[in-house]
Structures are given as C-alpha cells and as structure tokens.
C-alpha cells in the first residue's frame, strides 16, 4: 500500500501545477481509475487533500511540505524571537532595547551576562553556538545575522 501511495504521489507531482488550484473532485476522479478496487478511494483523496492543504497554506511564497518539520524561519520571525527573549531577561531594560544596542556599551551588561544571553538563544532556537563565535555577538542584529547564516535564511 505504501508503494501505491508513493506511485500516486509521483504521478500527481509530474502533472502540471494546475492540479494545485483544482478542487478535490478532480483529484477524486483521477484517483478513482488509478486505485485498485480493493483500496478505498476516500483514503487516497483524504491524504492528498491534507497534503495539498499543507502546501497551499504557506503564504511565504516558498512551496514546501510540512510533514513533521517546524515552520520555515524568516528574518522577521528570527528578529521577533530574539527581541522577545531579550525582553524576558531581567537585567535588560525593555524600553532601551533596540536591534542595534550593544550589550556591553549601551545596556551595561557583563561578559558573563552575554554568555547567559547566548545560552538563552541556544535554548530558543535549538542548536549549539560555539564559544569562539559566541563571544563576538554583541548586538541583537549580529545574533539575528548569525542565526540566519547558520539556518540558511535569506531574503
């Protein structure tokens, strides 16, 4: 049964993108003759329906499938999350925080405070930042740039 589903996936992807816009009825009609008599047609249509929903719901312009993965990162979302985490930190005054504020010079933080901030970013985004590169990240915009470099996010 898995091979049959894969077969239908390949055939449906090979068809032109007109299928994306067409409704479920066309798919069900196409799936009818393709599926064997024993295999329930509604299951194939339902699985394809959910898959197309997953594809068309993304409005960022990039066509990608979300089977079990996180939503794709953009520069704005990275920046929002970084600023949100920084505002939660109690040694930073949230009014004075901007993307270009230097940790040591503008916000008056320690080097150990900067280590704590980088660790909070590691926890937020889920990947390790080695200390050799972490000691150079001194402003929120640099952190955003570094995460975008590591995660291959670009405009």
């Amino acid at each position: 049964m898995a091979s049959r589903v894969l077969h239908q996936c390949v055939r449906s992807l090979a068809r032109p993108s007109l299928r994306l816009l067409s409704g479920n009825t066309v798919m069900r009609a196409a799936a009818g003759p393709a599926a064997a008599a024993l295999r329930p047609v509604s299951f194939a249509a339902a699985s394809r329906r959910t898959r197309w929903l997953g594809q068309s719901a993304i409005s960022s312009g990039v066509l990608c499938r979300q089977y079990g993965d996180l939503p794709p990162l953009t520069l704005e979302t990275i920046k929002d999350r970084v600023i949100y985490v920084l505002k939660l930190y109690d040694k930073i005054n949230p009014e004075k925080l901007q993307t270009s504020s230097h940790f040591m010079k503008d916000l008056g933080l320690d080097s150990l405070d900067q280590v704590e901030i980088i660790m909070a970013m590691e926890d937020e985004f889920g990947f390790e930042i080695p200390d050799a590169e972490a000691e150079k990240l001194m402003t929120p915009s640099e952190i955003v740039q570094y995460i975008a470099d590591k995660k291959d996010v670009y405009e």
Binding site: S111, L112, V115, E116, M119, D131, A132, A134, E135
Partner: protein, 125 residues
C-alpha cells in the same frame, strides 16, 4: 619554575598551564560558566536543596565575580581547573547537601572587623 629561571632575557616567557594568553583563558572561564549555569537546576533537584534555581545561579555568578580581577593566565587556568573539579564532584553526586550549602554560609555569623565588636565577643585568636 625551571623554565622561568632558565630564561634570562627581558621578556620572560613562563610555561603555560593550558592557555597561552588571557583571551584563551577567558574562553575557558566562559565554558566553565556555561557548564555551571546548565548544571544548577539539576543540582537543586538532585540534592533536594531548599534554594531556588535563581538563587543558585546568583551564587555561581558571585563565585565567578570574586576572581574577576585576575590577569595572570596561569592563575586563571588554575582557578578554572579547581572550578571544573567542583563541577565534577557536584555532577556525580560525590558531594553531599552540606557541601553544596557551604557556599551559602547561611548559618555562619560574619566575623567582627572593628575593635569594639571583637572586644564585646572576647579576644579570640
């Protein structure tokens, strides 16, 4: 130190312990701070301490700030080594609750510094 006695030139080069300059030593300090920071919640849970994680982290910060003024890389390396030994003993639960709570000095009275307080308590050596 045999090596430092052997060099007679103006620029004395001593044999380093781990790091060659202060930047590398500071990097080791940061790594140690990261390890301690991540270890504090586990410590509070394992030893069933009566402190909050925030208090534990403040205490770690205080211990690190005590030696903030040190500039000799070999001395910094030695302090990092001692810190790593403490961390190892804490992680493997070779210490006990009393040893961890000794950092906090809660039940100890601060020692008297001026003459009159020492006089009232009696001249202890």
């Amino acid at each position: 130190m045999a090596s430092s006695a052997a060099t007679r030139t103006a620029s004395k080069v001593v044999k380093p312990i781990f790091s060659r300059d202060l930047d590398e030593a500071k990097r080791r300090v940061r790594e140690l701070y990261r390890a301690w920071y991540r270890e504090v919640p586990n410590t509070v849970a394992m030893f069933q301490l009566d402190i909050t994680t925030q208090q534990g982290r403040e205490k770690v910060r205080e211990m690190f700030n005590k030696n903030k003024h040190v500039t000799d890389p070999r001395l910094v390396d030695m302090l990092v080594i001692k810190g790593k030994m403490e961390l190892q003993e804490t992680i493997h639960i070779w210490k006990q609750k009393t040893h961890i709570m000794r950092y906090f000095h809660e039940s100890e009275e601060p020692r008297a510094t001026d003459f009159l307080s020492k006089f009232y308590r009696g001249h202890e050596p």
